[in-house]
């Protein structure tokens, strides 16, 4: 079910990103999840085409700020996937990642960014079927949410909202 129809009429000042359909960036660890995605490919497990994979050596390499930058600058969804805990090629990379991702996932909605646009999971190199399931479900979830509005102000809407904290 690929949604390649152009986005709903986005406000004028939206950049070119919006006319290309839904874009999901996937940070995949080279040893397990990238291998799992390859296995899914080799087994011809059909998947939606919204995911664009960035290969990183380990989820330990994942700085939550990569996710922040992606979601703030208009990527519609961010998927981070690595080796199952205890299976990490570098032994502890995914342990570090687990805390940082979980903290960041809880922090996102506070700033007004929908946390459903970010998902992290563990998929090993032999789990092609599981990878297909993860990608399909996450793509559908992002399609339901629609394009990421980002954090730009609608042009001309500079009304002051009182912080109500004084």
């Amino acid at each position: 079910m690929t949604d390649s129809s152009p986005r709903s009429s986005a406000p004028a000042d939206e950049t070119a990103a919006t006319k290309q359909g839904i874009k999901i960036v996937g940070f995949l660890c080279n040893w397990c999840s990238y291998g799992g995605a390859d296995t899914a490919g080799v087994c011809r497990f059909k998947q939606p085409t919204d995911l664009r994979v960035v290969r990183i050596p380990c989820t330990g390499r994942m700085d939550p700020l990569f996710i922040a930058k992606s979601l703030i600058y208009g990527v519609d969804g961010v998927l981070v996937s690595g080796c199952h805990p205890r299976d990490c090629h570098y032994a502890v990379g995914n342990f570090y990642a687990r805390r940082r991702m979980e903290a960041f996932k809880a922090f996102l909605p506070f700033m007004g960014i929908d946390t459903q646009r970010f998902k992290y999971t563990w998929v090993s190199a032999s789990e092609g079927q599981q990878w297909q399931k993860v990608v399909t479900e996450f793509s559908e979830q992002i399609h339901r949410l629609g394009p990421n509005p980002g954090v730009r102000l609608r042009s001309g809407d500079n009304s002051k909202v009182s912080s109500g904290l004084r």
Binding site: A68, F110, G112, N158, L165
Partner: protein
């Protein structure tokens, strides 16, 4: 009561000064509602030292700003005396945890704190220009504005961070000046009341709130420079071109990303001292952002920063067993 605390401080500093490299404290300033940090090296200026609700600066930051960082203390260097309120002392503990300073590098004068005044709240009740003097009488603040003296209840003009304060008494000190203070809140919920209020709002409203607040941010980096734990200073990634995280383009995404960077770099480290919000020239509640991460750290990992000098900040370590998060 404030008077003899001040005298006790002067006496103690007088005794300790010969052994100290310098004494960092607060002194009165041109603005009656605020004090100014002071670095005392000789006995005659000890008398400048003052205490009270106007001593709002967190002096711990001066121990690690770049000059100090670049040249590590010589082995025989004399310790530095420093006055710390409850929240300031937690910053000291955090600095010790992250090995920016060693415990024997500082002689800590612990000051139990009854809350600091937020001059903006006073400004809402009386034009700042007219304020000639301000003194404490019991629990109220007496403002002389060349008219009839105005008596304000301290609670009304307290800084936001003080309303939910759990640690008014220093968590680490060599000597304590004055009686213990009673914490204003003992529960997680009370301390993070504002965070909970924000969490209760719907997503769109929160986004709108931060869009309008951060729209006013001029990226002057005062909050970063005032933060005792933000030690990168001129090497901060929001300013450097290598690596290229953030451009100098003036836009809400850039401002959002700056505050994300500051918040995530303090995740699991920030002690909620409120300096960033106090110094923000645009009145943006930036501490609220860090408080949310502090709440997450307490709820998710049961960790609150700056209490145990031996503890390791949670995002710098891991626990294989925690499968539930």
């Amino acid at each position: 009561m404030l008077e003899n605390d001040r005298n006790q401080l002067h006496k103690l500093v007088e005794e300790a000064l010969p052994e100290l490299d310098m004494m960092i404290g607060w002194a009165e300033s041109c603005d009656p509602l605020q004090t100014t940090p002071v670095f005392i090296r000789d006995a005659k200026s000890i008398s400048k030292l003052t205490l009270g609700p106007f001593c709002s600066q967190n002096l711990a930051g001066y121990l690690v700003k770049p000059p100090a960082l670049d040249a590590p203390p010589k082995p025989d260097a004399k310790p530095i005396g420093i006055c710390v309120k409850g929240c300031d002392s937690r910053s000291l503990v955090a600095l010790i945890q992250e090995k920016f300073i060693t415990r024997d590098r500082v002689r800590i004068f612990g000051i139990p704190c009854r809350g600091t005044v937020d001059f903006r709240k006073v400004a809402q009740r009386v034009p700042l220009a007219n304020v000639k003097s301000a003194t404490m009488e019991g629990d109220s603040l007496v403002i002389d504005d060349s008219g009839t003296p105005l008596r304000l209840d301290l609670e009304e003009v307290l800084a936001r961070k003080c309303l939910g304060c759990r640690y008014p008494n220093p968590v680490i000190q060599d000597v304590v000046i004055g009686q213990e203070a009673k914490p204003r809140s003992s529960s997680l919920a009370a301390t993070y009341r504002d965070v909970a209020a924000m969490d209760a709002k719907p997503l769109e409203e929160r986004l709108a709130f931060w869009q309008s607040e951060l729209d006013r941010c001029i990226r002057c980096y005062a909050c970063r420079n005032a933060c005792p734990l933000c030690v990168c200073q001129d090497r901060c990634i929001v300013e450097t071109r290598e690596p290229r995280w953030l451009t100098q383009r003036v836009g809400i995404p850039e401002k959002f990303l700056f505050h994300f960077i500051h918040a995530m770099h303090l995740a699991g480290r920030c002690t909620g001292c409120g300096e960033c919000e106090r110094v923000c020239p645009m009145d943006i509640p930036v501490t609220l952002i860090k408080e949310k991460l502090n709440k997450i750290m307490e709820e998710m990992l049961g960790y609150s920063a700056g209490l145990d000098p031996e503890a390791v900040p949670p995002l710098l370590t891991f626990n294989p067993g925690e499968t539930e998060i």
